[in-house]
């Protein structure tokens, strides 16, 4: 077998050559294109998370709340726009391809905080840790407001738990409030001089403002339960807030996010870029077709509200709105050119208008006005001991200020018979509704679901005037991946199923 004899040395030679070249040849799997988590410091991650939160708040949630909270409709030309919002098409809104992915966006944002929270925990960065807990609390509360029961403890574990179990909305509410409380403790314990500084797009590392903001978010969550939660729990939590002692966001303390917007596509204030003008100053599609409801304008006008002039373009000296969900194309009454669009500098002699001030204006996460309205309601309910009337007036004044109304006009408004404090919840909530218009619209829808206030008309695309949307259905993506847990929650019908804090 002399031939076979040759084979062995040949094989050995072959293998020798081979393993020689194997060394290092295969070590090319380090990503040359993008950093991985380990390469990035906390300050490279936190800004992205905070901006994602405010984008969801002023974009996705604001739009849904504006339609379902009585603020917005569309022009006659835009009768086909946002149709699933108009006809309360639950399956359409949960659709994987054309749906409205509040769930998906919320958990993605939660993940951003989750990763920062883990890293901050490992590094002992208490300030960052506190921020992530507060912001996670924020998002979980929002999720419950939209979907009721959602995963909390079992969420955000990647493949550690691929079918996270849902917890009752009330549980998630309590846990979120506790999480915020715990985050506040972290911020208080953070050593001075180790603040996130400019990476904290919200308060530039100001711990006092963070604590006030966190208390305000908690107060909002407690008020949401006004119709259902036991008094003892509310009192206990109010007690926690009071003994913490930082108070709530007050006058001049808007929670704004300013990453350094610039006049360039994708880097402008998103509200501006979506609802007002593009980088070249061309009117956007939604500026053409989004209009205030006539009901909203009437509420401003009957009070001679100076804000309406800051917010909307007058048509022949008056303000004309539309009817939400109107299936009739009535160009004469509801066409683009005969209804009041959002006002911006272009319609305001180049001056900043109410909501649209400039392409690089800060985004609003929460206004001081809302905080004051929350405090006013808490006072009205006797939960806190301040004067509801003063808080109510400050809240209106803060709204006027944000929208650019002069102090004198603001003071005159306060004396209007419909505005002067009457001590009714209807008046208080109506004023809050007028103040949060298009800024935190999702709150308006939540207040409507909670209190039925104000009594704005239903969508005209719905054949039964009694049905209103109470929630979004669990998204199709969730049904696809976690169906058993979805089904265990019972009906998620958009009209008949309710959020736990609804009466």
């Amino acid at each position: 077998m002399k031939r076979i004899k040759y084979i062995r040395p040949i094989v050995i030679l072959l293998l020798a050559v081979f393993f020689q070249s194997c060394n290092g040849f295969l070590d090319v799997n380090e990503n040359p294109n993008a950093p991985v988590s380990e390469n990035l410091k906390l300050e490279a991650k936190l800004p992205a998370a905070l901006l994602a939160t405010v984008n969801q708040e002023s974009g996705q949630l604001n739009l849904l709340g504006a339609f379902w909270g009585g603020y917005w409709g569309t022009t006659a030309e835009g009768a086909n726009l946002y149709f699933h919002q108009k006809n309360y098409n639950g399956p359409g809104l949960r659709d994987v391809r054309d749906g409205y992915p509040v769930w998906e966006t919320s958990y993605t944002n939660l993940l951003y905080y989750h990763i920062i929270r883990e890293q901050a925990g490992e590094e002992g960065s208490l300030f960052y840790l506190g921020i992530t807990k507060i912001m996670q609390g924020w998002h979980f509360l929002r999720l419950v407001d939209i979907y009721n029961n959602v995963p909390f403890d079992e969420a955000l574990q990647g493949t550690g738990n691929v079918t996270p179990a849902y917890e009752p909305g009330s549980e998630v509410y309590r846990k979120s409030i506790d999480l915020i409380t715990s985050g506040m403790a972290d911020i208080r314990n953070a050593p001075a001089g180790l603040s996130p500084g400019n990476a904290d797009l919200l308060f530039k590392g100001n711990s006092r403002l963070w604590l006030r903001f966190a208390n305000t978010v908690k107060l909002r969550a407690l008020l949401r339960q006004s119709e259902v939660a036991p008094v003892s729990y509310i009192q206990q939590e109010i007690g926690v807030i009071q003994s913490e002692g930082s108070g709530f966001l007050s006058e001049g303390e808007n929670a704004l996010i300013q990453p350094g917007y610039m006049a360039s596509t994708g880097k402008m204030n998103p509200l501006w870029e979506t609802y007002y003008r593009n980088v070249e100053g061309v009117e956007t599609a939604l500026h053409q077709d989004i209009r205030p409801t006539q009901y909203l304008l009437d509420r401003y006008m009957e009070r001679e509200d100076p804000r309406v002039d800051q917010l909307y373009v007058a048509i022949n000296g008056t303000f004309r709105g539309v009817r939400f969900g109107d299936p009739v194309v009535n160009m004469e009454q509801y066409g683009r050119s005969v209804t009041s669009s959002f006002k911006g500098p272009a319609e305001n002699s180049g001056q900043p208008a109410g909501i649209f001030k400039s392409a690089t204006q800060a985004s609003v996460l929460m206004t001081s006005s809302e905080s004051l309205f929350l405090q006013a309601e808490a006072a009205h309910r006797g939960w806190i001991s301040q004067s509801a009337e003063i808080l109510y007036q400050k809240a209106i004044a803060e709204s006027m200020k944000y929208l650019g109304v002069s102090l004198s006009d603001s003071e005159t408004y306060m004396t209007h018979p419909m505005v002067a404090y009457q001590g009714t919840l209807t008046q208080l909530i109506t004023q809050k509704w007028l103040a949060l218009n298009t800024i935190s619209s999702i709150e308006a829808w939540s207040d409507y679901r909670r209190l039925g206030l104000p009594e704005f008309p239903n969508s005209r695309s719905v054949n039964n005037p009694d049905v209103r949307p109470n929630r979004l259905m669990y998204p199709e993506t969730e049904r696809m991946t976690n169906l058993e847990n979805v089904l265990a929650q019972g009906s998620d019908d958009i009209l008949s199923s309710r959020i736990w804090w609804q009466k």
Partner: protein, 1014 residues
Amino acid sequence: MIYNYLRNFTPFIFLLLSIQLVSAQAFRIEGKIAEKETGLPLPGATIQAKESSQATITDRNGHFSLSVSPGDLIEIKFLGFRSKELMVDESSSFLDIHLEEDRQLIYEVVVTGALGIRRASRELGVGTQVVDNDYLTQGKQVNPLTALTSKVAGLRVNMYDSKVDPEIRIIMRGSRSLNRQANAPMYVVDGVPVPDINRLNPNDIESITVLKGANAAALYGSDGVNGALMITTKQGSGGNEKVTFAHTTSFSQVFLLPQAQNQFGQGQNRVYSPLQSESWGPRFDGTMRDFGPKLPDGTQPQLLYAAPSKDNRLDLFQTGIQIQNDVSFSGGNETNTYFLSIQDVRISGILPGDESSRTGIRLNGSRKFGRLRTLYNANYVRFSKSIAPDGPWLSVYTSPANIDYPQMKNWQDASSIANPANYFTDQLKNPFFLLDNYRQNSDQSVLSGKLEWDYEITPWLSAIYRLGYHSKKDEKRNTTGKFEAKGKRNVNGAVTDISEDFERINGDLILNFDHTFGKVTTNMILGQNFRTDRTRNVSVGATNLLLPDLFNTDARVGELAATSGSSLSQYRSLSVYGELIAGYDQFLFLTLTGRNDWVSVLHPNNRSYFYPGVSTSLILHEAIPALQENETLTFAKVFASWNKTGNVTLDPYKLNNPYTQINGFPFGNLVGFTPGSAYPNPDIQPEFVTSYEFGTQLSFFKHRLHLESSYVFSDSEGQIFNSTLSRATGYSSAIVNAGRLTNRIIEVSLSGDILVDANRKLNLGLQFSKTNNRVEELYEGNSFNIFRQSYAIVGEPYPSLLVSDYKRDPQGRIVINEKTGYPVLAEQETLLGTMVPPYQLGLNGSFSYKNLSIGFQAESRWGGWLYSEIIPRQYTAGTHPRTVTFNREPFVYPNSAIENSDGSFTENTSVISPGDKAFWDYEGKIQVNTAAKSDFFKLREVNVTYRLPEKMLSKQKLFSAASITAFGNNLIIIRHKDNDHGDPEYLYNATDGYVSFRQVPPYRSYGFNLNFEF
């Protein structure tokens, strides 16, 4: 000699092997046996001296030497070819012999096996099928993959859009991977693996050997897990100088548009509106109505409010034209071969403005230097295309039935109703404006080639080194013309320049040993392979250009587009492999294979993996003497194989989660990084597919009827796939090693020469396969979402279609919500079935009479479901036929029920469903309305060829052969009655049975071809 297989088992063969009769006058002749058509060597051909019974067989390069006496008659035999006899004398020192293929004996063909080494099919213990050039090119397709459609049992080819560069998905013997991108076979051109063959000229292809299943491609490793298409391009050959010219022109026309209603026109709520794009207006009434806004000169355009009898949507399309010219030169002598071809293809698509062109040059050649044979080939293809992105068709099928599209063409005219500033609606754009103003251009250069050195060290050992190179450079430019107008009518000018480079270098060192021990022949291959793939993508874009006609990122407003950037990627692998083939007495063969791969994309601890295989074949009618005399059964082979193939379907850099900046970051010096949405898994392991196969090849009635059948089982475990996750996990997907899929496949091919006589020949063939695919295990739980409505569900085929459905009472009546009149949704989705048709039947036939021949190709697939995204959009836009079933009036939902408070149901006779837009929009979101069975029968190709008879040709000297062919593609289609959606073969995004709202309807084509040989 590698492949010592002998052709005739007559008793004297034993003498040949053992006795050397040397007569006094004896001398040696040498020679080479090759195929006449191609010039490729024929290894294992028998050369026998009639007188002396001396015989020998050719070596791997077709060479032989034999001791003969002057005046001996020698006979050259090779199964599958016509035998040849010739007289030898001392002057015939080197014989260059060409054998002509005998088409009747298709089961004894030479196939291109693993590593591109040519083998007799009898040795193979696995299913193979050979498609030769004639068969491949009969439909005159531009893409070789389209040309393979319905020609190979178990091979599923879907061409799934109507662009001038259609996308194609190809799957062999069912899905083995839950990773839907990883089910394509590998492509090997002349022994070199290449990433795709879309740009290969089908006319350059001598033959495609389809090695089915993982077994066949064990030696290629991971890429071969789904089988391999072994492509052999043409070689020149000595004594066969040839120049060919071919011209093809074909025309294509759109067909199979989704159904639309033509009773109601534009408006909302049954009120006419001149500005609305949706068809929710009043019933067409034949009056002239205001249409769109007033023109700049103040006139109000009007349009007839009635749908024309012809489908107005057809006016978007034009007749596509395809012109193809081919020239080839081939020739050679003993030491050199030469093949040069040039092809030029110009296509204009069914959408106006869409066009592509392809010019390719191929040079194949070889030269011998003593014992060293060098081979080279080079193929350069320049491909350009310009297409409109998705949009024009979407605009048309959601627009009213009375729009007069011919009026919409001159959009540049500022006073025309077609001008984007005046178009009747601003909710949609003029499709002709979309076609002209939004363009995607691409210029591709593909260069591929190989160099091969083949050195015969000793008669029993040769070494081959083969270096393959493939590069693809794609320069893309997407432009959007700036159109200044108000609001929605405004279009920002944009440009994106994208440069994508891909380069692969592949090297194989192969040692080839062989030896014969009496009746036992052995051959062993040892090899080593390396591969590097490099990709480099650069994109620079601007979304706000300053001037309408200046497409340059420098002339922009604001920053560069957020998508601007670059990325690099590298993949490397190393392998060692071996194959041992043992044959006994030329009727029993056993093959053992083994390979070890090392890949760069896994963690160093996991990146090495080994996989073995074994196969065997038995030629029954030679093993069993009784069969040799059998008149009915003229050939019988049985074969079986088992193997386990490792596979890594992972892209580079997937072991970590990359962070990117989105949402406008960076803002100056403020950075903000966010993680990707796929959960990374650093511990990914290779996945393994275990498969076995057994089958038989039978020939009956003197090779007039052939039957080949096989049963294949495959079991894929530890699948690497991107599994969709509940978003509550924080991620949208995770890369996991999980899931098990099995396939049980039956394949049957039947081919018969029904009629053969001097003038006439009728051949009919049939390919059938049934794939029983099942998900056995999953990562966690019993079902996993794959893509939108397609799922992997344990116990069901992959992928299965799961859709939302109506809630029904026990009698099957649809439950209606008492308050709203809307149907109630079922709590759970309904499982409709598999999205891949499990049954596939191909039919082909050819009939020739003298110089006229007719061929056809048909295919049917059934048993699957499809889902169309076009449908919900049509419901919303009011163009779907179902939205007019109740004349848009309130109605009582037929066969419906109301749920009582006690959970019982009563028939619904009074609750009125609104029947308006809101209602039908809701109906369109009930996905069961969007699904249909995807069964179909298609007559894919018919062709008629007339060859100029010898008599006519002999009168002139210009050309030696000429023919003319008329052909048609996609001529007849029969679909399931519920499928009014479109082409059931259409796929989206590498899914199965999922039709996107973007996809343009299919086309049928017809044309002619002229062919000359000089």
